[in-house]
Each structure stands twice: as C-alpha cells, then as structure tokens.
C-alpha cells in the first residue's frame, strides 16, 4: 500500500541549525490496517506522517503509494493525490472560526467542484454518523473539545479518502473521548480504510484494533511489531 525507501528529512540543511528528523527510514504499511507510529517527542513521527501524507517532501528517498512513486510528482499531481487519497486529522481540530460546522466540513471538497447539494447531503450524513448533526449550523467556537474533534474527523472524510492520517489525535481528549475516537477508527477499518496514527498514548497503541506498531527514536525505526 505505502512503501518508504531510505527516506531522509533534513531541516535547515547546510546551516548551523541543521537537523536531521528522519534517517534512512524504510517501511511498508499494509492497506486496510491500523498502523501506529509510536515514539517520544522529536522522534520523527509527525515528519514521517507529513511525508506519507504528501504534505512535505523528503530530502532523499522515495515513497510509493500503491506501487506508484509519488515523491517526484509535480506539485499539482501531488495536490490531487492529497485531496483524493488522504484524510487528515490533526492534534488540534484546526477548524476555521467564524463559519459554521457544516461549512468547515465541506471546505476540503470545494476544489473538486462537486455539486453543493450533494456535498451538503454527504456532510450531513457524516455529521449524523458521529452524532453532531444538530450542531451543523453552529459556529465552531461554540463546540466542546470532543465535538470539535468529531467535526474535524467528518471534515477528513468528506472526500472519501482511502487513507486516514491522524497526528496525535487523542492528545487533547479525555479518556472517554479517546475511547470514542478509537471506536470511530475501528469503524473506518471495517469500511476498508487504511489508518495511520502517530501517538505516544498507550490507549491508542495498545488498542486491540491496532494491527501494527512502528517504534521510532531519533529519526530511525527502532522496532516494528504486528
């Protein structure tokens, strides 16, 4: 599904502040599985996730998605893949204040030019599934932490991506909401989606629904277990 070959990421290359976030990481992530990237702060989890999700490019190495090499793709092709293949759930919900929950959820689908009525129907269905349909017209600043997180999950799913990428999704959730989040992840898995999560929360990487855990330290893979 996703293959990383000797991926390196160096920030501020050639400067005194040069920092190597990833050092020759090679990894294969299976499709239709939940994979957790685990490791302490600064281990390179988020950097790796951003490279897998086509949000940044490696300094060296290649990434293949379904056998197709994607790191060399020109930006407009990469944007297309990013929009259609990946759904992103961030540590913070990153919802845009001042507009409604529904508008926030529909936003990533606007560049694809889908008919607004279809889009609205799809967004409302997603909000209903996560029990926040009644908040669709509310402004995002009125939502609780859990509601905001669920709204961001619906937003990540609006383009029906095959791969869900979640960066420390439970960092700002209490235990009950974290369990609720893992239930949602289980549902994604049952729908055939591939989920990649970075986390150092035991509630996530020890969960029964997780298929493999990749342990990172100092920009290298320390261990990988399934």
């Amino acid at each position: 599904m996703i293959e990383l070959v000797n991926v390196k990421k160096v920030f501020n290359a050639g400067n005194p502040s040069e920092f190597s976030a990833l050092n020759s990481v090679s990894l294969y992530i299976e499709g239709n599985q939940v994979t957790v990237l685990k490791g302490p702060s600064g281990s390179g989890k988020t950097t790796l996730l951003s490279i897998v999700g086509c949000m940044s490019r490696p300094s060296a190495g290649r990434v293949k998605l379904n056998g197709r090499e994607i790191t060399s793709l020109p930006e407009r092709f990469l944007t297309d893949i990013r929009r259609k293949t990946f759904g992103f759930i961030f540590q913070q919900p990153n919802l845009i204040k001042g507009i409604s929950v529904l508008d926030n959820v529909m936003l990533p689908a606007y560049p694809l030019g889908e008919k607004r009525s279809h889009l609205k129907m799809k967004a409302m269905k997603g909000l209903s599934e996560l029990n926040i349909a009644d908040k669709s017209a509310s402004k995002v600043e009125w939502l609780s932490g859990g509601e905001a997180q669920r709204a961001s999950i619906v937003r990540a799913l609006i383009n029906d991506p095959h791969i869900i990428i979640a960066d420390e999704p439970t960092a700002h959730l209490d235990t009950k909401l974290s369990y609720r989040f893992m239930e949602i992840i289980e549902k994604f898995k049952s729908e055939g989606k591939t989920v990649i999560i970075t986390s150092h929360d035991p509630l996530v990487y020890e969960s029964a629904i997780v298929d493999s855990v990749v342990k990172l330290r100092d920009g290298q893979i320390e261990a990988s277990s399934t």
Binding site: V5, N6, K8, R57, P58, S59, A60, G61, R62, T71, S72, L73, P74, E75, R76, F77
Partner: protein
C-alpha cells in the same frame, strides 16, 4: 547614449533576462547531467525542487523576452525625431551597425522563447517531467543568442548619439536601390508576390486544417508555417505596405506601426509571430505524442496549437485582404521607375 525612458526599459529588460537565463542555465546544466527520476538521492530531489523555481522564473523571463521585441520596435519608432533623416523606426535602426542585427536576433529569440514556453506547458502536464531534459537543452541552445542580443543591444543603445544623419525608410526599402535586403524585398514585383502569398497561405491553411482534423502532416505544417512567416514578411515589404500606405513606392514595414496607420503593424506582427510559434510547436511536440505520461493530453494540445496557428494565419490574411480591398491604391500594371 540617449537616456530615454524606453532605452532604459529595453536595457533593463535585456539585463534582467540575461541574468535570469544565466542562472537557469547553471541549474539546467545540472539537470541535463544528473537528472534521473528513478533515483531517490538527495541531488535528484534538490533538482526536482529547483526545476519548479527555474521553470517559473523562465516563464516570466521568456514572457519578458516576447514583449521586448515590441518594446524594441516601439523604442526605435519613439526615438525617430532625434535623428536627422529618420522618418520611422527603420531610420533609427539604421543608426550604428547593430540596430538591424538586434532586431533579427529579437525575432529569432521571440520564436525560441515561445517554443520554450509551449514545451514547458507540455512538460508540466506529465507526472514524470517527460520533457525536462529537452526543455533545458533548448534553454542551453537559446541562452547564447539571448546573451549576444543583450551585448549587441547594449552596444547599439550606448553608442547612439542624437542628431546623427541616417537614412529614411523610403531609401532603405526602395525598389530603386540595388543593394540591401530591404530593397531586394521591395524590388519584388507586387502582383507575382501577391500570387505567391495567397497560394502559399492557402496551402498552409489547408495543411493546418488537414492536420487538425486528420492528425497527419504535423511536421509538414511546422515547416510550412515557418516558410509562410518568411513569405508574409517579404509580402509586407513587397505589396501589403503599398496598399496600406496607398502609395505605389512606399514599402516600409515599420511605418505601419505608427499612429497614422492605427498601429496596424503591431497587430499584423503579433498575428504572424503567434502563428509561427504555435505552428512550429506542432512539429516540436509531435515526437513526444507516444510518451506514456503525455499520451492522454498531448495530441489534443498539439491539435489546439495547430488550430491556433491556422486561426492566426487566417486572421492575418483577412486583415491584409481587407486592407487591399479597402485601399484606394489599384495596381493594374507593374510599376517601373
């Protein structure tokens, strides 16, 4: 040197273009030598990022290069009052030895820059940079001409002194003179030249349409469009100008860009240059129709270029025909002086 705003604008445009082209050639040479899309090494990834910067930069530089031809002609026309004997841009370009060589180079570089821009658009359609090495080889070929143009243009403008006595266009493009390319073109008989123009234009348009509908004869159309460009330029001097000026002896290809003639020359030259660039690009892109990442879009893109070229040539012909038909000048016999 004459410190006229248009002269400064010309020189600035030339220096900016040359500096940027040199920068692009430096990285272009690395791309030609080291590019390997299968390779995941650091240098390859750096080159992949650099090519965005260079392509974007060159798009603006070559856009400037296209405009600089018209700015140069406009400047030459604008400076006319400063030289004794000059009646239009033709006289100004005759000041010093470099005016006309720079004009020829600018026309050549216009066509080359246009081709590069089209090649760049085609390359950007493929997911694996299919034309990248060809694109930078073309850049390496064009760069020396742009640098020579800048050197000659600097020499031309910097050696320019006011009140120099120069020739007027009536003398430079006169059928009475026996030497000079302008006079040779002006000496060509109007009627036969008119036949040559219309018959070759008909052939070119038919070939272009045939390629557009049947997808055959692309290379032939590219060659014909270049020949047609030359024939059209000669025709402007030989007979088109006569009808526009309504004078059987005035062959100047520059007076038509003046206000008195509603700047018609600019439109005619834009149509011609646009037609030859898009026509030549049909031939330049045809070899890459089978490239895997371009297979889906390139044939349609080449078809559009051919159609654009045909339309531009047709508009040129319509405009010229309108000028001939609406002109008070009637050439019923060969004018011999």
């Amino acid at each position: 040197m004459i410190l006229h705003p248009t002269v400064i604008a010309n020189l600035l445009a030339a220096y900016i273009a040359s500096a940027m082209v040199l920068y692009a050639v430096f990285y272009g040479a690395q791309i030609i030598r080291h590019w390997d899309i299968q390779n995941g090494h650091e240098l390859q990834l750096v080159l992949e990022r650099k090519t965005y910067l260079i392509s974007t930069l060159l798009s603006y530089v070559f856009g400037l290069q296209l405009l600089s031809l018209f700015l140069y002609i406009f400047t030459a026309d604008n400076l006319t009052p400063l030289f004794v004997g000059a009646m239009c841009a033709a006289g100004t370009l005759n000041v010093g030895s470099f005016g006309y060589p720079v004009l020829v180079l600018k026309i050549f570089n216009f066509i080359a820059a246009g081709l590069w821009l089209i090649l760049n658009v085609a390359d950007n359609q493929g997911y694996d940079y299919p034309l990248i090495k060809k694109k930078y080889l073309l850049l390496a070929f064009v760069a020396p001409f742009i640098l020579v143009e800048t050197v000659l243009e600097s020499a031309y403008f910097m050696s320019m002194e006011a009140d120099v006595i120069t020739s007027c266009c009536g003398s430079l493009f006169s059928s009475e003179r026996s030497t000079g390319m302008g006079s040779e073109m002006a000496s060509l008989s109007a009627k036969p030249m008119m036949w040559i123009f219309y018959s070759s234009m008909s052939g070119t348009l038919v070939c272009g349409l045939f390629f557009y509908f049947k997808n055959r004869g692309g290379y032939l159309y590219a060659v014909l469009s270049l020949l047609m460009f030359v024939v059209a330029l000669i025709s402007i001097v030989s007979f088109i100008s006569l009808y526009i000026y309504e004078l059987p002896t005035h062959h100047c290809p520059f007076c038509i860009i003046m206000e008195e003639y509603h700047y018609l020359g600019y439109l005619l030259y834009i149509l011609l240059l646009g037609a030859v660039v898009s026509g030549l690009s049909v031939g330049a892109l045809s070899p890459f129709r089978q490239v895997e990442s371009l297979q889906a879009m390139l044939p349609a893109f080449i078809g559009k270029l051919a159609l654009a070229s045909v339309i531009l040539f047709a508009l040129f012909t319509v405009l010229v025909t309108y000028e001939i038909v609406s002109s008070s000048l009637v050439i019923t016999y060969e004018v011999v002086y």
